[in-house]
């Protein structure tokens, strides 16, 4: 246990005294997680609604595809984006590679499957009668969507939290597409990798501790939400 204590003794003061490099990474990580998740939610929710409520041919296949995209390795997403963004590639003229913008794009793409697949699943899990009754009562597409989102809100929020979680802890695509440039486009996860490469284990540990604390806060929120959802479901049952 010797080594881990020694490194902790150096790492904890780094966090405690608000090392400016650490603070800048924290700030950038939060920004990436918030922006990527927000964009993914705006794009993903309409897709999830269409998948869950739509009645068009091939929706079963598209749902399967959405579920499959959850297991897409981030390193693969990074490689594909690289092949699209590198100098000679189709998106090369935009000069996105190794920029902060590229990091935002990569994390948005990685957050999208969580929003689409998990929200669609939550909407599909609603009591069967609910939506068909609304349809029968003449609800339009927009009213139906709002009703579905409101009723499935716990599942949708859980999807958003899952998306935030990946944005915080994902390392592969960020490193490939952002280049892991010191003090520029590093997130907590990619900076951990960077410091380990340089054998600065105390710095790596400090960053990792901040990362795990953020994840824990997020997961506590999810846990609370799950407990609440039991209450809500009960209330729903007794009302019918």
């Amino acid at each position: 246990m010797h080594l881990i204590w020694e490194e902790l003794r150096v790492a904890v003061p780094l966090i405690w005294h608000g090392n400016p490099y650490l603070l800048s990474i924290i700030w950038f990580t939060l920004k990436v997680a918030a922006v990527a998740t927000a964009i993914a939610t705006v794009i993903g929710l309409p897709i999830a609604l269409a998948l869950a409520l739509g009645r068009f041919p091939g929706r079963q296949f598209l749902r399967m595809l959405a579920n499959a995209s959850l297991v897409l390795p981030p390193v693969l997403v990074g490689a594909i984006l690289y092949l699209l963004m590198t100098v000679q590639a189709p998106l090369g003229p935009l000069r996105l590679i190794w920029t902060r913008e590229a990091v935002f794009i990569a994390q948005t793409i990685l957050a999208l499957p969580f929003i689409v697949a998990l929200s669609a699943a939550a909407i599909q899990a609603l009591p069967e009668g609910l939506l068909s009754q609304a349809r029968l009562l003449g609800a339009g597409r927009r009213q139906l969507s709002i009703l579905a989102l409101r009723e499935a809100r716990i599942g949708v929020i859980a999807a958003v939290i899952a998306a935030l979680g990946t944005s915080l802890s994902e390392v592969a695509a960020v490193t490939i597409i952002g280049g892991n440039i010191y003090g520029y486009d590093q997130t907590l996860a990619s900076a951990t990798l960077f410091e380990v490469d340089g054998a600065h284990y105390a710095d790596a540990l400090a960053i990792a501790i901040v990362l795990i604390v953020m994840i824990l806060i997020l997961m506590c929120a999810l846990g609370l939400l799950q407990q609440q959802s039991d209450g809500i479901r009960m209330r729903f049952r007794s009302a019918t």
């Binding site: 246990m1 010797h2 080594l3 881990i4 020694e6 490194e7 499959a68 297991v71 897409l72 390795p73 981030p74 390193v75 693969l76 990074g78 490689a79 594909i80 690289y82 092949l83 699209l84 590198t86 000679q88 590639a89 189709p90 090369g92 899952a162 979680g165 915080l168 802890s169 390392v171 592969a172 490193t175 490939i176 996860a189 951990t192 990798l193 380990v196 284990y201 790596a204 540990l205 990792a208 990362l211 795990i212 994840i215 824990l216 997020l218 997961m219 506590c220 999810l222 846990g223 799950q226």
Partner: protein, 241 residues
């Protein structure tokens, strides 16, 4: 799009001719997936069963904890394990830092939450009467566990797919604990990441990416086929009971 197309055309021969570097990456990835997922199953199934079937105090809290561990960042696992395995660390005397066994351990740790958290979820999704009936008929702990596992096979295999997927796709811990040494402990995923350290030989990037995708799909495909063959077993059980 002709650029992307050219890349793919250049990559295909590398795969079909069995480029030795590529084949080594594939072999390491397969070994890591098999060994780490098996280890996670051996350790995780009893824990998952205890959470799913047990009736002890604090079970709910433990289950929330297990769910939270699904979000464990791979780089955190990597750095924590590294500090334990380096000389001077608690397990430094094993001298396995930057080796393949260390990678097995790291990926098993990352796969474990899927088994521990998703097994109880699958068991709790069973028809409520089933297990209570078995209990009432005097099933012991072992019999009850076997019954639960057999009945929850679909959810269980979904957990195995997720766990094996993580062992194949994760790079954060592999890179840190294995040191990403070419030909020794590089997996397809970490090998792919390594290509970008020296602005990669791009056909190789595409070739590794294709093989990684193929491996994930093959793993998910095989396990899905096994998963979908549950129907017969459940029917047999129902008619026998």
């Amino acid at each position: 799009m002709s650029y992307v197309w050219d890349q793919i055309r250049a990559a295909i021969p590398l795969i079909t001719h069995g480029n030795p570097y590529l084949m080594n990456l594939l072999w390491v990835s397969i070994r890591v997936a098999l060994i780490s997922t098996s280890a996670a199953l051996v350790i995780g199934l009893p824990l998952g069963l205890a959470l799913g079937l047990g009736r002890f105090r604090g079970r709910r809290t433990l289950q929330i904890l297990a769910n939270a561990s699904l979000a464990l960042p791979s780089v955190v696992v990597g750095i924590a394990l590294l500090l334990l395995l380096l000389p001077g660390g608690a397990f430094g005397s094993l001298q396995i830092e930057f080796t393949l066994p260390a990678v097995y351990i790291a990926q098993a740790i990352l796969a474990l939450p899927y088994i521990v958290a998703l097994t109880p979820a699958a068991i709790q999704g069973l028809p409520p009467g089933l297990l209570a009936q078995a209990r009432a008929l005097g099933a012991g702990r072992v019999q009850l566990s076997l019954l639960a596992l057999r009945e929850a096979k679909i959810g269980l295999l979904a957990a195995v797919i997720a766990a094996a997927g993580a062992t194949i796709a994760e790079v954060g811990a592999v890179v840190i604990i294995g040191g990403n040494f070419e030909g020794q402990d590089q997996t397809l995923a970490s090998g792919l990441m390594d290509q970008f350290n020296y602005t990669g030989h791009q056909p190789l990037v595409t070739a590794i990416a294709i093989m990684l995708l193929a491996l994930i799909l093959a793993m998910a495909g095989v396990l899905t086929v096994i998963q979908q063959r549950t129907g017969g077993i459940r029917l047999r059980f129902r008619t026998a009971a």
